[in-house]
Amino acid sequence: MDKQEIIEKLRSIVKPYSNNQNAFDNLTESTDFISDLQINSANLVDVILDIEEEFDIVIDNQSMERMLDVQSAIEIIELKLSEK
């Protein structure tokens, strides 16, 4: 799966939890889930669970710790996919 595909999937995952339409429309690798998309911190766990389901991977606690922006999410997804 290439990076663009991952970003597209991430875009549909974060959509229902995003509270800033402008930041969502302009989503890039540097977009922060909380400060840019204004995802509520309790919904971050839903983003993580949705990522696990969509990519069929398990995100361990250490990876979850830095899952705060698109870039780290991509890195973690790529790593977990490569370990499959």
């Binding site: 400060s35 509520n40 911190s41 309790a42 919904n43 971050l44 766990v45 839903d46 993580i48 669970l49 696990e52 606690n61 979850m64 710790e65 830095r66 899952m67 705060l68």
Partner: protein, 165 residues
């Protein structure tokens, strides 16, 4: 230093499905999950514990400059329940925070501090108070003595709270 968190229970019910598979495992320790599942009102206990973690995270974040999603590392302990107030601790690494959590039918609100006596000197600031940010962290300049005080802000749904010591 101070941290706070407020949960609008109606909004939380709408936005989060805590019964979703995996949800509890990602954010609550085994002991905390037992507390939730044994509770008469499990949903209230979910947000009770969550708000304690969030309020404590705000102090931890200010102390360490560490930003991250590590709810399992912030472990909640309940010390006393007096009327609708839960008094407890949140522990992360060697650090201990003292929490006071108010439970109502509309919202749950936790204030976290570094020492118990700080609970007696909490100031509630009005929502139009001029807050300045430094590195994303909110501060308030006390007009009486021009001292810059750390404040903690929380908003969720119908509720907002700004506190300082």
């Amino acid at each position: 230093m101070i941290g706070n968190d407020i949960v609008d229970l109606a909004l939380a019910q709408k936005d989060s499905n805590w019964r979703r598979h995996g949800f509890l495992d990602k954010i609550f320790t085994e002991k905390e999950q037992l507390l939730i599942l044994k509770s008469e009102y499990p949903e209230t206990m979910v947000w009770n514990l969550w708000s304690r973690k969030e309020a404590s995270y705000k102090i931890y974040n200010r102390q360490t400059q560490k930003r991250g999603y590590f709810p399992l590392q912030l472990e909640c302990f309940t010390v006393d329940i007096i009327n609708d107030f839960y008094y407890g601790n949140v522990i992360i690494n060697e650090q201990i925070y003292f929490t006071k959590t108010e439970i109502t039918s509309q919202y749950i609100n936790t204030i976290a501090v570094l020492k118990v006596s700080d609970f007696d000197s909490i100031q509630f600031l009005k929502s139009n108070t001029a807050i300045q940010k430094d590195n994303g962290l909110p501060f308030y300049r006390d007009p009486k003595n021009a001292v810059l005080k750390p404040v903690s802000i929380s908003h969720h749904g119908r509720f907002e709270q700004i506190v300082c010591i």
